[in-house]
Symmetry: C2
Subunit: 294 residues, 2 copies
């Protein structure tokens, strides 16, 4: 299987649907739709929607039923990046080598573009859920809302922000990572599971795999920040260290962090193997995330 070509095809399909679901730039008031699209189409990996669609697919669900939820997940992810970059939070001028939203459109529009993407994501999901004759659409929305919400991504964001510049302990760092990044990846898996009609046992396996993948993904991000280069990442080298950000590498060292990524990935793969060959693509993707250099 040429899984990289396959991934490229899938992300292109997600991009097409994001384009369909987002308001046109020519609509009034233009600036907000330009700002929303600027960040949505800024070269994201579409990891969360790919996970959602693939889990749904493995369980026998239809991709066209799941697509709007996948795109909504990406809109929510994008809003979180826009707000995270704001001067009052991380104060970043660049992301993926481009100006951040508030640098390109001003802080007022950037705040509203984030609000707009979060609101639109739920509008898209509510409309999609209304097309189901059973409760799968609502269940998917519940999973995504929980991942994005006050017990998920927002909680991680808050703990990260209030500890900015302070050295945190291992438990706090794990809370930040599992909530800020992990919760939305769990949301992707559980929404896919809901749409695919998974039973409770299957959901449990998928959630456990998602938790491990999410944490491994974030630790790898920390590692890349140390060993990466500005060309590869599109942001200044060691930006997290410069801002005294708490990372796995600064707390546990590079070697232990790499070992942890390997360990978590191996455990996640073991869980995905329970789906047999149907999970081949998901397994390849998971392996790739560990080895990635950006």
């Amino acid at each position: 299987m040429d899984w990289k070509a396959e991934l490229k095809e899938r992300t292109a399909k997600i991009d097409e649907n994001l384009d369909r679901l987002l308001p046109r730039e020519s609509e009034y008031p233009e600036i907000i739709f330009k700002a929303m699209r600027y960040s949505v189409f800024a070269g994201g990996k579409r990891l969360r929607p790919v996970f959602l669609l693939e889990v749904n697919h493995i369980l026998g669900g239809k991709t066209e039923e799941a697509m709007d939820f996948a795109c909504a997940l990406e809109m929510i992810h994008t809003y979180s990046l826009i707000h995270d970059d704001l001067p009052a939070l991380d104060n970043d001028n660049f992301r993926r080598g481009r100006l951040t939203n508030h640098k390109a459109f001003g802080e007022n529009v950037a705040i509203l573009a984030g609000d707009a993407l979060l609101s639109h994501a739920f509008e898209v999901m509510a409309n999609a859920a209304a097309r189901f004759s059973d409760g799968r659409g609502i269940a998917a929305m519940q999973a995504i809302a929980h991942g994005a919400g006050v017990y998920g991504m927002v909680a991680g964001q808050v703990v990260d922000v209030i500890n900015d510049g302070k050295k945190v302990d291992a438990d706090t760092l794990r809370f930040i990572h599992t909530k800020k990044t992990g919760a939305m990846i769990e949301g992707a898996f559980l929404a896919g599971a809901a749409l695919g009609g998974a039973n409770d046992a299957t959901k449990e396996i998928l959630q456990q795999a998602a938790t491990k993948i999410g944490l491994a993904f974030q630790i790898q991000d920390d590692i890349l920040d140390v060993i990466g280069t500005v060309e590869e990442l599109g942001k200044p080298l060691h930006s997290d260290e410069k801002n005294a950000k708490n990372t796995y590498v600064s707390l546990f060292g590079l070697e232990a962090s790499e070992a942890e990524v390997e360990r978590l990935t191996a455990q996640a793969l073991e869980q995905l193997e329970s789906f047999g060959s149907r999970s081949a693509f998901l397994q390849e993707l998971t392996k790739h995330l560990v080895g990635r250099r950006k």
Copy 2:
């Protein structure tokens, strides 16, 4: 009917349920839950939830089925106020006589408290919708999402912000008012209509009434800013004028603005009269909104 005592009882019930639905202040990370509650319990009129519950009630719907949607609507309204007050937007230090959220908790927490309230509102609604055996819950969520979203409140907010300090024409001001304030009041009426199982003709009447009430309410707000006092409003007199905000009064004058409020209210009341005595409370409330002094 002592409708004022009735209103007080209803808002107390809404407050009880907001308390039930919002995370405890003792939960980790405490600061975000404190910040969310600080603004939710800051003396709001609970107008939008009261409208939703009353429309649902008039149509024969159960209040306990509609309550979570009503509270979610208030959470969304509160998030919009928190973000609106931020330094990059209206830069207000006080609201209803208290420090604004970012003055009390810092700009970073205030941005996240707004995000948290918006996210939590949809989590609450998704959970509530999952308890329905028919599509009424999703339909209510669709109405609220549409009112809060990029074709509703957010659009009004954007046009307001990008015209800050500039004189706008009547069409633009009407766009700001009908979207920024009106869209969420329409959302309240239409969500109540959906939960109460309204047919299309009834929805149409309710939407028309809501549009008129929303616009009258906002024009009255503009009027109060001119004639109000700092004691009555809890914010500096003429704050909109000082910031060169566009208001109905600055564009059309006080007399024409008052006449427009009267005209819109009379039309709305005419539409509400089609529900007969069942809409007595809603009619009283609508009349009160015109005569209000804060």
